[in-house]
Amino acid sequence: MNTSPKKGADRLIPDQDKLVSSEEVEIRHEISDLRNVDGSGHVTGRSIYLDDIPVQQGTFYALPYDAPSAHAHIKKLDLSMAAAAPGVVRILTYSDVTGENQIGGIIPDEPLFAEHEIHFWGMPVALIIATSEDAAVQARKLITIELEELPVITDPREARAQGELIIPPRSFKLGDTANAWANCAHVFEGRADTNGQEHLYIETQGAYAYPTEHDSIRIASSTQGPTAVQRTIARVLGIPMHRVEVDVTRLGGGFGGKEDQASAWAALVALAAYVLKKPVKLAMHRMDDMRMTGKRHPYSSDYKIGFDKDLKIVAYEATFHQNAGAAADLSPAVMERTLFHATNSYAIPNVHVTAYCCRTNLPPNTAFRGFGGPQGMFVIESAIAHAADKLGMSAREIQRRNLMVEGSEFSYGQIADHVNAEACWELTDQKFDLDKLQADVDAFNAKSATHKKGMAIMPICFGISFTNTPMNHARALVHVYQDGSVGVSTGGVEMGQGLNTKMVQVAAAVFSIDPSRVKIESTNTTRVANTSPSAASATADLNGKALENGCNAILARLKEMASRMLKSTQEAITIVNERVLNNGKPTDLDWKKLIHAAHWDRVNLSESGHYATPEIHFDKTKEKGHPFAYHVYGTAAVMVTVDCIRGTYEIDAVKLVHDFGKRMNDSVDIGQIEGGLVQGLGWMTMEEIVYNDKGKLLSNALSTYKVPDIHSVPKEITIEALPTDGHPLAIRRSKAVGEPPLMYGIGVYFAIQNAIRAFRPDARMVFDAPYTPEKVLMSLYK
């Protein structure tokens, strides 16, 4: 990193340090350059994931037996052979559930175990408990089931036609599209489809439950939502939540796949531990995980877009068919975010977008980075590409003319503020020279007969906050120990996004102490209760602000203590780089001495900080409000090369400007941009979920479902930060960064399309992601 120590420190340390000479106070750390605080554990293999927890003696191993059909009545389930197999302790079914056989979060429509009917291929029917994992695997082969097959729906449009909707459709409206079409110079209609996406967290789902005193359960779970796991277990076991303790150290990846869908596996092992009074563990096999869990929602959508003669978008309508799978899971919330992001970064006066949450016989689809937003954005980008094609111009022209400006109104009524759409675009142009990039592409294409390049621009605008307003709150528990070290617990879960690192920075910055004094504890429901899941990119904002509040409360007490010791006033006291200053002048007091004194003076050195996002609200009856604390903006230019002999392609470069706000951690945030972008372009290119018409997953292993490897990522990724002061509702003005960059990947689809058309100008404009090599070759020649 090229940030100088002084600059790094300036970002986070209050201005008072100007008053102190460097001889007196050494600046110890470049805090915005702080690397992943878990990095050493990761590279040495010492970090602990679920399957690494030392196993207690007498632990049993659980293995779900899942439905071999997507829709059927169970006529007969024969467990006798399996129950008699060596090592098998017990086989549980719905009838063994001590509480409620129900895990549906938003809507109670998802049984934990199938009872009499199967709704998707992979639905748990029974749980084998054995003395070893292998015994359970061998026993599973002995279970037989007789089924009466029922009709299977895998297509969301078919589900809608049959009235299979999980919730009634929802519409966002702005202006009056019906009357707007008459004023349009150009109107285009079409269809756009996106496939699902497997999360492929490298650590599979799992949980390990131990029975504890008072008929309670302690469970380690690989979950993004410890409270969701706690609540689900309490419900399934029929016990109060205070008898379920959920502990999460970290996840080997989540991406939304462990927001709601970790709960089923946790509930299964908790039930087994509760019934058998023994520790029970499940770390899922990859193919079981892929078969039994839901994925990003496939969407099939229709759009209609109208322009005036100056190519300003006058009206936009879209109908989204969300393939929700067999149960609600988080689908209604995901669907909502599709509506929120249906117009991406564009200011459109007349909007009418409608979404259908369609029940099919796929595993219940769920949260995945972007949470419905990317699906909505793909549709409007398709509409613009379609229009550009028909109008014989570059999509870039249309995109640029329609970017949101300060005060633009979103279809849901929020008035955009701190808008950076144009600023990101302009800086992209300034830094990378879009005309030159396009000219280079054209020059290459003029010379090459077998390979063609394509370029596309992808602007993004992504709202930060849970769209369900009541979820936007968090707590953090801070202990300052008497030796000056600090322990922090928050409701957030570390899953690679760098939360622990940012939380260390927050505590270190508020106290102005060395980051090494701060330790982040596991996420535990007995320390921090009633948490929202680590999701919606908001984890660092919510938990960080709560932590800040907690630290500030302790800091105030410390300043009061120091003012008494120094016979000064609280206002005159500051702590800078572990030194206590009085009116900006060094004193004999430092952090350790102050803490020691405070402890012996019986000052409370612990605090539970609470934070609830201000200003946000949303009225679902009107579909209007101000649901987002702020928006994140950015613009990416994507260049690809298509091999027109073979239909394969390479991504040459992605050059982007991103609105980080006032970035608090360079390497963490850059890592989120690179990782999000690559995950997004994987969704757009090679990641292809395939179910057959019986609802059986064919892309059911890493050999048939391909995610980007080191050779398939862009050869160049250049990231420029938009210089801003950040947003006051972002943690330390550093904006949320988890989900937004995924949507830069959408540009890859359109860049490939442009390359194809450089080879074959009459190639049909198809909007059906992912653009696999198969689809590319067919576009080139069929």
Partner: protein, 473 residues
Amino acid sequence: MTRFILNDTLVESTASPGTVVLDIVRYHQQLKGTKIGCREGDCGACTVLVGELNQERVEYKSMTSCLLALANVEGKHVVTVEGLNMEGLSPVQQAMVHASGTQCGFCTPGFVVSLSGCCLSREKITEELAVRAIDGNICRCTGYKSIERAAASVAQQLAQKNTEEPITWSVEKGFLPAYFAGIKERLKTIQGGTEATIDPAILVAGGTDLYVQKHDSMHHAVVRPLANDASLKGIRFEHGECIIGGACTAADLLNSVELNDHLPKLEQHLLLVSSTPIRNMGTLAGNFVNASPIGDLTAMFIALDSTITLSGPAIPGQARNDRSIKLRDLFKGYKQLDKSPDELVTSLRFTLPGKNTRFNFEKVSKRTHLDIASVNTAIRLELDGDTIREAHVSAGGVAPIPKYLAHTSVFLAGKPASPETVHAAIKVMNDEIAPISDARGTADYKRLLLRQLFFAHFLALFPERFTLKELVA
């Protein structure tokens, strides 16, 4: 009992020899740094380094421990991430931390182990080779750019490596723990381990497909390891022929300087085959007898007009009952072979290319690397001026077997190498293939793709004589 050195410790394991090393390491030895991601060699989270005594050297290769039979590490040194840990972070570990090449951290030990292999190899490490070392490791968090930066830093730090004595150098410079220096002598003391073969046993060569297909049963199985059988190894050149042992791995082919001299684009072709750790394990004969309709090596060697030697079981006092057949004749139907269960593919031979020989291999898969082909194809042409004197064309993914395109091959013989010939050959080819729709593509796509790859052969072999425009006209 299987004896091997695990990091710094001699292990004498009584576990079933079919057990995979991953389970031994994690659950018998309680070393939890090696992670389970997929159990089919596709993610690299479980990568270990395996050191083998070869004369006076210990040669290390990265392997995915989920597919590695315990029996195959007899007498070897197995290195997990714990075996690389020192007092502070190693330079490789430090590079990963500094470049922020780790986010959730679950794939990280695999990357660290793979990259650390660069310290042990006798190659001069370039940035390209450092990236190649991790081409079998999947990361879902970082987008790889930070890991590329770490790899570049490792390559730079290894620039001065002594390629004659890499282990000594790496230990002296603090890249590896000191115990590595003593491994060679310790390995000598555990060579010649007994190989108690109990019949009938399942033959395990690289195991890279066997353990994917039969994962649940292999650790109970009686296995006979072939990877250590010296009689099945080696690449020889005799009387204008190349003779390759059946247990040679794809990496052995890649590393054979002489073979690459004869087939100048072989490296480029082999880099399309799987990943580094799988190339270090998977064998030539394994690829053949697995009988996958899209085996890459199979397609290559069919087109090279190779002959294989099948050996029956050794009967004491008698010569082995050997027979030779063309590789293309081994395949009788879907996963049906002209081979009895007790026959071994001991070697393969093909006539070395002459100055009038042209050879090319093409493969397209959803992901260019570490993926199974939608369609692959290879071609060998013997030219007589502008005329094709003899042709051998193979194709995978278009029939139930790795397909020798016999009619197309015959058709090409005696024809000029011209667009007209190619167009006419496509018609012949289309009549002898029968692709089906599956997870790797629709039948229509595979048919189109094979046509395109057939074009690609001619564009690659005769760049001055063909254009894409003419071919697709």
